[in-house]
């Protein structure tokens, strides 16, 4: 099942569902890598609100997406991690080092908006 990628202005948005196979994830990674270049996107938001579980492969793919995106000129934000999922991740030692995370899509957009103009107290 292909994961739909939505375009919103300069950003790409993809939403991950829980019942994804490894192949689906790899395909998402490929699609995003291509579209970031095609659409000259500045940011990618991967929304994982619907994911009840995050296994190590998913995490690694997310990290890869972020790194690939960076090389193609787009910042990546992971949004929508549930408290339980976040807790389970740190307990298992799974990290999203170097990738921005946000509470939800709205936060994700705000983070991307601020990446090039950092908050200065207002």
């Amino acid at each position: 099942m292909a994961i739909p990628i939505l375009k919103l202005g300069d950003y790409l948005i993809a939403s991950i569902q829980s019942a994804l196979t490894d192949a689906d994830l790899t395909r998402l990674q490929d699609d995003l890598a291509r579209q970031v270049g095609d659409l000259r996107s500045r940011g990618v938001i991967v929304d994982v609100t619907a994911a009840e579980v995050m296994d190590s492969f998913t995490i690694r793919t997310l990290l890869d997406i972020a790194h690939v995106g960076k090389l193609r000129g787009a910042d990546t934000v992971i949004v929508g991690l549930k408290p339980e999922v976040a807790f389970a991740m740190v307990q298992l030692g799974l990290r999203l080092d170097g990738v921005a995370t946000g509470l939800d899509l709205e936060e994700g957009l705000a983070i991307l908006g601020h990446v090039r103009e950092p908050t200065d107290g207002g």
Binding site: K82, A86, V90, R95, T101, G102, L103, E107
Partner: protein
């Protein structure tokens, strides 16, 4: 709760030989005949007892009588028919009740030492002519008393255990509040000892609060944490990382000199934590991050 409480079910009836069983029947024939009399005498004898006196006076006469009747029947079934379970169950319930009323365990032995001679006297009157029979009845009585006190002791232990569990629960709930200071800014003051259970609960509450209040920054103040070992440090790291995954930056404040020394000595790497000396500094930093500025109001400066 039940799993950690002292096991109180499964009290086995005392192991009895047929001789002992006969002796217990003898015992009941004498005790049963004088039961009400002995109960009355006991009440009188314990009236001046500092613990039993007020207790006996506080319970209505009718309730005492009812209880005495029930106990008598249960005891008869235990001694005569070997049906101990209902008797033990009743003892457990009574023991737990008295434990909650604050009656000390030692006082049960005082009561026992009052009742025992009363029964002994009547046994001697009944079996004085047959020393062997008297002796075996006395032995059987000892067995009966021993198992009784065992059951009551268990009732006390489990009542205490329940109290401890309730208090632990209360302490846990009290000890991990997550406070919202302003939009997007949470404060988690940690006080006391952190064990894994508490750390887990703390992190859990923190994450829920971040989600609920859409917090951008959390300040974790550990001024009230007396000691930090590698486990506690690890829990702290996990809480901070998990908060980070939800998009909230965490600032740890209040690391005391001793705690800092220990952490360095045991070689835990806390460099991934953003630490600020005291809560005041931490809050200032946190407010800077969420975009607030704290200062005196203009009118107050005038």
């Amino acid at each position: 709760m039940a799993s950690t409480a002292v096991q109180t079910d499964g009290h086995r009836p005392p192991d009895l030989t047929s001789g002992e069983r006969r002796a217990l029947e003898d015992l009941w024939r004498v005790y049963g005949a004088h039961y009400d009399e002995i109960t009355e005498e006991t009440k009188v004898a314990l009236a001046d007892d500092p613990e039993f006196g007020p207790l006996i006076r506080s319970i209505p006469e009718a309730v005492l009588e009812e209880q005495s009747r029930t106990s008598k029947e249960l005891l008869r079934r235990a001694l005569m028919e070997g049906d101990w379970q209902p008797y033990f169950a009743d003892l457990l319930q009574q023991g737990a009740g008295y434990a909650r009323m604050g009656l000390s365990f030692a006082s049960w032995f005082r009561a026992l030492s009052v009742v025992r001679p009363m029964i002994t006297r009547r046994l001697r009157e009944a079996f004085g002519a047959e020393p062997d029979r008297l002796l075996s009845v006395m032995d059987a009585m000892g067995k009966w008393f021993d198992s009784t006190m065992g059951v009551i002791g268990d009732a006390y232990l489990s009542a205490k255990q329940e109290t401890i569990l309730e208090q632990q629960e209360a302490i846990r709930e009290l000890s991990t509040p997550v406070l919202t200071l302003m939009d997007g800014l949470l404060l988690l003051p940690v006080v006391g000892v952190i064990d894994s259970h508490r750390a887990r609960q703390m992190t859990d509450q923190l994450l829920q609060a971040i989600h609920q209040y859409r917090a951008k920054v959390v300040v974790i103040d550990i001024t009230g944490v007396a000691a930090v070992d590698s486990m506690v440090a690890n829990h702290l790291l996990q809480a901070v990382e998990a908060a980070g995954l939800l998009g909230a930056a965490a600032i740890v404040t209040g690391v005391s000199a001793e705690v800092a020394q220990t952490v360095v000595k045991i070689g835990v790497d806390l460099s991934r934590l953003r630490t600020v000396g005291d809560l005041r500094g931490g809050l200032a930093e946190a407010m800077r991050l969420v975009g607030f500025r704290l200062g005196k109001a203009e009118s107050a400066a005038d």
